[in-house]
Symmetry: C2
């Protein structure tokens, strides 16, 4: 019944060295994790339902992702909704270039 949330330190398989990176990849490799973080960009603060609408996913999945992201201190729930933590914001800033890169990727993928 207990769910395994990927955190640096122990869990993820096949990770002799550089475990923190592996844990991150496994965390972000779960469906909609990247998307949720993205929807909270630019200091957006969304409540559960708005986040649900933004991502267009099932509430159970969103809740699972949110639990993982809160557990790993990337997201927090405040008075007026969910928002990225300081860490989460830092991560998003690293994610941003990725999003830009995708534009070029789209072009070279067209023909």
């Amino acid at each position: 019944m207990t769910k395994r949330i990927p955190k640096p330190g122990k869990p993820v398989r096949g990770s002799r060295s550089g475990r923190a990176g592996m844990a991150l990849f496994e965390l972000l490799g779960r469906r909609w994790a990247l998307r949720v973080i993205w929807e909270l960009r630019e200091h957006r603060r969304l409540n559960f339902r708005d986040l649900l609408a933004a991502c267009e996913i099932a509430p159970s999945v969103l809740n699972t992702r949110l639990t993982e992201l809160r557990e790993t201190k990337l997201v927090e729930l405040g008075e007026s909704g969910y928002a990225l933590t300081k860490q989460g914001t830092a991560l998003l800033h690293l994610l941003m270039p990725l999003h830009d890169w995708a534009e070029d990727w789209a072009k070279t993928l067209k023909p």
Copy 2:
């Protein structure tokens, strides 16, 4: 039978604008996608079995991921194994800081 591979242009749901980024997030949000790319870092060229061993995943899953990554021009299969394309390499370079960030993340997550 046909599998839906997320590419910029049409597919992913909930993507009025910035669809390329959404497609990328959906592609990378599939399990082990980030890991596969990571294992091919630094111009590594691994054959199917070595990649299998490196990632420690099921061959069917690896093959699915590889198909997606090849289809989207991030990975290619050459004479002596799989390797990142030029685009894939560019993406990896953006992924690198992420991997480093994870180290700090690990620290602040300890206590």
